[in-house]
Symmetry: C2
């Protein structure tokens, strides 16, 4: 499905405003208030009218205060009008004070924008275990409210404000016809390390954990002027996340703060639709597209990442087995280092397939490569045995910055995909920390 | 329990001989036969008399031919007299020819040493997916048989011959009194990468996979002159491996070839004993000691490893939960890089605890450090909240080459330990492969 990309990201849909300011949340000591040349760290996303809202949240049992506040609010309310987001501090492992601070962030934002109580949501990313500098946050919210605007530059400021170790901001917007009306979906996200989201609508873990477990802080905020009923919006988001953010891994670590929120204000004026009808399917496809493109931007910008590999597992007995194989391969240190080296080492891949919790049969396993979106697969292994593909051919297949790895277990019909990253010296160097800086204690 | 360490490793027990030779299994083209200054690659371990034998094998479903041959033989026979081991080629993913070759390795060894059929076992480690160079292997076995001897130097040669990416050989021997008789246990092992063994006595996976899954090639060969009945020997080995080799991780990757074999020839002349009696418990403690010391040598010599951390989890609801938390922390890329940096980053640790499949409660979690074997724990987190320990104190606690990390979940009485390694730029550099060398295709 092709969708027309447009500019403006989160403010492309009618009736959405955004802003991003610097309020020194890391307390670098350069003064509060407006951007003094330092990266912005507080964003507001506002809808002119109340919007239906849906969310997905980390299933990590160690869960940040802003996540708890969003889950709590979404349980009670189906409408929201503003999201306040900060970087530099995750407000995780901050105890009762953390909850008080997260609640103040939403209530202060509501008061500042003169909205009814309960209309604000909150997201945070950054250091773990450090109290929120609420004086700076309040000053930031006041300034961000002054700065709100409808232009792409405003969206750029917001997208910059949510970045942490990201090297660039991540944004998208599309436009399509829904029931004869032009509707738009915009989105922005952040995330580069501590990335293997496993989100659910309530933050609660599924009764049966998927094989391979669940395992960043990634944040994504999606806006649309389509009119969508809340239940349909949540169902569509569940489906979109299952095939995008919950299918990516940079380092296999699931964060305490992962959050995706979607706000639908209905200002496009389309008629409400049934998710199972043609219009519903179109909306679902559009939301899937936005989420997947944003999710892929996270992997491409992952800490130290040189190569991105789409791991496609087919022919598993069950979806859980397909998922387990895809995650085992996508998170294997030996496979990831071989990708970094441009080494088509199938021995490490079949080893990871074999130790995954999935049921596999060595003599049935196929392993091959294709270009991204390519139809022709170069098989390196068929039924557990090396093919006649030459080493040179295989090296060429794994040389591009992005390629697809195809694994066929030949045991059934279930399949799964993971978007994975290589493991580089830069990742290690970046994450080994700076022990001259006590601020690295958490996060 | 303290045991007296003695010299001689695998030939320290009465009646054991060993040898190690170079037969060019990687076919470097420098000629076959005796050591021409290159690392030895084929070893024999021989008992003068038939010995009872027990084994533990990788539970990877992609399992090498030598493992299959050992499992097959142990199912039928309780006696063995020789183990033939090679490095440079894993004989894994080598199909029917691989099985034929592994069977020929044992039968050729038996004929060479004039032993009854069924008395030989085999182990292999090295590249995956490359056919065994059987001409070289046969020449190696013939030469190794000529070189067999009882001295520590012979054991050194054997220990060198099983090394792959190991920077040094790993050996131990102890002596103790069992029922009034002096008995000895010797052992050698190898392993540096693809290390997170999960072994069982049959290579079959347990019906219920432990939380966190199972995840090197590590090989270990243990000899003893104690008289031990086969069932007791297997039970003792199961127990010893559960608390040693199955509790280590370098990179979280479980190999296709992990094998531990123990041969007990009874030449010390002790009376047979019950494993539950005082003598049984002493033998168990001795075997535990040998296995744990060997296992720790593997982690210390892990690829690129700078720091070894004993992750001690206490207060879990179940042993599975304790194991899951220990493995999540021990295999977290972010935790491992912080260890490398000497950074006491508890945020990453509690994040990994939270996404593990175990049940945990953030507000109950304690995290602290002690010196190896130290009684005093410096807590960085108590009940989910930072303590007054200073950043300088915490940095000092994680600065040593080895230290203990203590995690108390405060939910129950179950505990588990993992011996883990940091993740360094050297690990990545070593494993990214040499794509100028087609031999890196497998393994």
């Amino acid at each position: 499905m092709q969708f027309k990309e447009i500019t403006g990201s989160i403010v492309a849909p009618i009736g959405f405003l955004a802003s991003g300011v610097f309020c020194d949340i890391k307390k670098l000591g350069t003064g509060k208030g407006s951007n003094k040349g330092l990266k912005r760290d507080l964003a507001l996303i506002v809808s002119e009218t109340p919007a239906t809202v849906a969310g997905m949240f980390t299933t990590n049992q160690v869960c940040a205060a802003p996540v708890k506040v969003c889950v709590e609010r979404l349980r009670k309310k189906n409408l929201a009008q503003v999201v306040v987001v900060n970087s530099g501090n995750a407000n995780a492992c901050t105890g009762k004070q953390g909850m008080t601070d997260a609640r103040e962030m939403v209530s202060f934002t509501e008061k500042t924008l003169a909205l009814s109580a309960g209309r604000a949501l909150v997201g945070s990313t950054g250091r773990i275990g450090v109290p929120m500098p609420m004086d700076n946050v309040r000053a930031g919210i006041l300034e961000a409210a002054m700065e709100l605007g409808f232009t792409a530059e405003h969206a750029d400021h917001a997208a910059e404000a949510i970045m942490t170790s990201d090297s660039r901001s991540k944004q998208i917007a599309i436009e399509f016809l829904l029931g004869g009306k032009k509707v738009r979906i915009g989105g922005m996200c952040k995330g580069a390390g501590m990335i293997q989201p496993g989100m659910s609508a309530t933050g609660a873990r599924p009764a049966a954990l998927p094989h391979g477990g669940l395992h960043a802080t990634m944040l994504a905020f999606i806006t649309t002027d389509a009119a969508v009923e809340q239940k349909a919006l949540q169902a569509a988001l569940n489906e979109a996340i299952a095939n995008s953010f919950n299918r990516i891994t940079v380092d296999g670590d699931m964060s305490t703060n992962d959050t995706v929120l979607v706000l639908a204000n209905g200002l496009a004026g389309n008629k409400k639709f049934n998710l199972n009808g043609a219009e519903g399917k179109l909306f679902q496809a559009a939301l899937n597209h936005v989420c997947l493109e944003l999710a892929k931007k996270i992997v491409r910008d992952g800490e130290g990442v040189h190569r991105v590999v789409m791991v496609c597992v087919n022919g598993a007995k069950t979806i859980q087995d397909a998922d387990a194989v895809a995650r085992a391969v996508a998170n294997s240190a030996l496979v990831k280092t071989s990708w970094h080296g441009g080494d088509p080492n199938w021995g490490r891949i079949i080893d990871a397939i074999g130790y995954s919790p999935a049921t596999v049969v060595e003599e049935k396993i196929d392993i091959g490569y294709s270009a991204t979106g390519g139809k022709k697969i170069l098989w390196s292994l068929k039924h557990g045995q090396p093919t006649l593909a030459t080493f040179k051919e295989l090296c060429a297949a794994v040389a591009p910055k992005e390629f697809e790895l195809h694994i066929n277990l030949n045991l059934g019909k279930a399949n799964a995909v993971m978007y994975a990253a290589d493991l580089t010296e830069e990742y290690v160097d970046f994450n080994k920390g700076d022990v001259t800086d006590a601020s690295s204690l958490g996060g």
